[in-house]
């Protein structure tokens, strides 16, 4: 570790005071692989936009492919932004200020990345404004589009003061004043963000819950919302803090520094764990209701959905027990007792569980046959699909790295040097 303060950091004028950052050359060197991925991904996106979606392996049956699945996943993982904001500004859990900035950046990356992929995913991106101009309010997708767009604006406004607080930028009086004033309206934005997040996380679940044509995804519900609406909200709220815990840990490992105190980790774990326990409980009730009531009322046997290899009954077991109940108990009862490594491992499992749930809702739903003379189908994404998604991952890594280097993401970082 380079103990010599910021030795060889050519960009030291941009680095926050009182923290150590690796030399600029090394930083660039570490970013090179991501820049290469970014370039390849950009080419793939260009292909998809220029030549059309025939560049993907999606087809008329797999109208939603790996992009939608991963979009849903990263939006769920990005829920940490709204949830941390909600806890800090609305419920006044001041301890979480230690990860708030990082959570906002993560949220911004997840949402902007998801919207970017969505823009490639639709057949006519230039018509995106149609949804705003003549919306069909009965569609869950309309709700999603409106909320995600508004929320990205909110996240940008939340991200702005973090950027303006950069050592060099804040020397500009207008920026200094702006970041201060933006900070003052933050509770309002946190409230709006929470409201929007509730609705679009829910609507993303509703997206599949309303598919009466697909009994595998269809759920009955309360009022206009199927149960998946509520399950997605809770699961996203549970996964968000886990993902924050995970990214903080990764940032801490990569930079070889302690960034937050252990009790922040423990608090995140406890929040994530307790929400996940509730989620697992509700998800189990929902699954049983669906198996014993919804599906039979449609003249099917629930077990029939789990006979199609490779998506056999293991997938249900893995989603609810292995990646649901197990890590939730670890996080809930282990926070404060277990070492951080265990909490991180559990968080990884939580994130995997949420991703698996989104996979089941998108890919498995579409792969199952609906008519008896229909086929079970699977699909393999094309390299363009993978590359376009990796573009978002690389974009996220680069944005986060730059933010970590030049912005003050972890206010406790200086204090952590003492302990």
């Amino acid at each position: 570790m380079d103990r010599n303060r910021n030795n060889g950091t050519k960009d030291i004028r941009l680095v926050a005071r009182g923290v150590n950052r690796m030399p600029f050359g090394k930083f660039l060197y570490l970013l090179v692989p991501w820049l290469i991925i970014l370039a390849i991904g950009m080419y793939a996106i260009f292909l998809c936009l220029a030549k059309g979606l025939n560049q993907t392996n999606m087809d008329n049956r797999f109208a939603f492919g790996v992009w939608i699945f991963l979009d849903l996943s990263i939006i769920a993982l990005g829920a940490g932004a709204f949830f941390t904001g909600f806890l800090v500004y609305i419920l006044k859990r001041e301890e979480l200020r230690a990860v708030l900035n990082s959570a906002v950046v993560i949220g911004f990356i997840c949402y902007s990345g998801a919207i970017l992929v969505l823009m490639v995913d639709v057949g006519q991106p230039l018509r995106a404004w149609f949804t705003f101009w003549h919306p069909n309010i009965h569609s869950m997708l309309t709700e999603v589009t409106f909320c995600i767009t508004c929320y990205l604006v909110v996240l940008s406004v939340e991200y702005a003061p973090i950027v303006l607080r950069n050592k060099k930028l804040k020397e500009v009086p207008a920026f200094l004043a702006m970041q201060y004033e933006l900070h003052r309206i933050m509770p309002v934005l946190a409230g709006v963000g929470t409201f929007l997040s509730f609705f679009h996380q829910g609507s993303l679940g509703g997206l599949f819950g309303v598919l009466q044509g697909h009994p595998f995804a269809f759920r009955e519900g309360l009022a206009i919302w199927p149960t998946t609406f509520f399950l997605f909200i809770i699961s996203a709220a549970a996964a968000g803090p886990s993902f924050i815990l995970l990214t903080t840990w990764i940032a801490s490992r990569v930079s070889r520094k302690r960034l937050v105190s252990d009790n922040v980790f423990a608090l995140l774990a406890r929040i994530s764990g307790s929400l996940l326990v509730v989620y697992v409980m509700l998800k189990s009730i929902d699954t049983l209701t669906w198996l014993n009531r919804t599906v039979p009322s449609l003249g099917l046997s629930g077990i029939g959905f789990f006979l199609w290899a490779p998506f056999n009954i293991w997938i249900l077991f893995a989603e609810i027990i292995v990646f649901g109940l197990v890590p939730s108990l670890f996080l809930l009862f282990g926070s404060g007792r277990l070492r951080t490594g265990w909490l991180v491992a559990s968080s990884v499992m939580v994130c995997c569980g949420i991703v698996l749930n989104r996979f089941v809702m998108t890919i498995q739903t579409l792969s199952l046959p609906t008519m008896s003379f229909d086929r079970f189908m699977i699909y393999t994404p094309s390299w363009q699909e993978i590359a376009a998604f990796l573009f978002v991952v690389a974009y996220g890594v680069i944005i986060y790295s730059l933010s970590f280097r030049y912005l003050r993401l972890f206010p406790q970082e200086i204090e952590m040097k003492v302990n």
Binding site: D59, N60, L141, L211, S372
Partner: protein, 264 residues
């Protein structure tokens, strides 16, 4: 959504167009698929198109009784958009009103110029009857002269589906108007697939007209609909004298697992 009264005032009468397909008479020849594609200006698929990416607004599926030779019997199901009557799954999901039900005719219409290409409707349709334009439409040299002038072309990146050859209804209405009639006559408007069927397996007409052939067949004993249990009220009826064929429509797809059902 659409203003029903406005359309109704043009025709004076409300219709509910539907179709009955006698699968006992269907030979699986695929003439309806070809006629549909030609009528609706569906471009020929590029070389790398597959049966999963091509556009077949009408598609013939094969099913059998699962027995071994010599007891094996098969049946063909021509499946197009089933023109769901009650809460069509594709209509409510479209974020920008690009799918609309015409209240005067009951026809579920797709408006490609308004379509964003999000494909949510395709995911919602239990009949897989919606198709996406994965490629730019390209016609081989000379073939563009055979295009149907009554049907607009669709661009890359939008969804399309069967609309019961709506342009034929408009043509029939114009003809009726020219002859001073308020209403079209039975048989004046039929979709291309019905017209082309060599065994006359398909019957088309107004399900509200109790004197029509389509009404009689739809109400007859052997008529059934695919996935009626989903409650979407499809307006394409199938007809068979054979009980096992009628059972296929509602059978749990999982029960066909061992039989290796296929769409080929």
């Amino acid at each position: 959504m659409t203003n029903g009264n406005q359309v109704k005032s043009l025709t004076g009468k409300k219709h509910n167009f539907g179709m009955v397909i006698d699968v006992d008479r269907c030979t699986g020849c695929g003439a309806c698929m070809i006629a549909c594609a030609v009528e609706n200006n569906v471009p020929p698929g590029p070389v790398d198109a597959t049966d999963r990416t091509g556009i077949t607004l009408m598609r013939v599926y094969k099913a059998d009784n699962g027995m071994d030779f010599p007891d094996n019997e098969s049946v063909f199901f021509p499946v197009s958009c089933q023109q769901c009557e009650h809460h069509p799954p594709c209509v409510s999901v479209c974020p920008q009103n690009a799918v609309e039900v015409d209240p005067a005719t009951g026809i579920v219409g797709q408006i490609p110029v308004r379509c964003l290409g999000c494909r949510y409707c395709m995911a919602a349709c239990p009949y897989h009857a919606r198709y996406f334009n994965w490629w730019d439409p390209v016609w081989p040299e000379g073939m563009e002269r055979s295009l149907n002038p009554d049907v607009s072309l669709r661009m890359r990146g939008v969804v399309e589906k069967c609309n019961f050859c709506f342009h034929r209804l408009q043509a029939a209405r114009e003809k009726a108007a020219a002859e001073g009639r308020d209403e079209i006559k039975e048989g004046e408007y039929i979709p291309a697939c019905v017209e082309s069927c060599p065994t006359s397996a398909m019957t088309f007409g107004d399900l509200l007209d109790e004197g029509s052939e389509v009404y009689r067949l739809a109400q007859s004993n052997g008529s059934f609909r695919i996935l009626e249990r989903l409650g979407t009220g499809p307006k394409i009826y199938y007809f068979s004298e054979r009980e096992w064929v009628r059972n296929i429509a509602e059978k749990d797809p999982a029960s066909a697992l061992k039989r290796g059902a296929t769409t080929d």
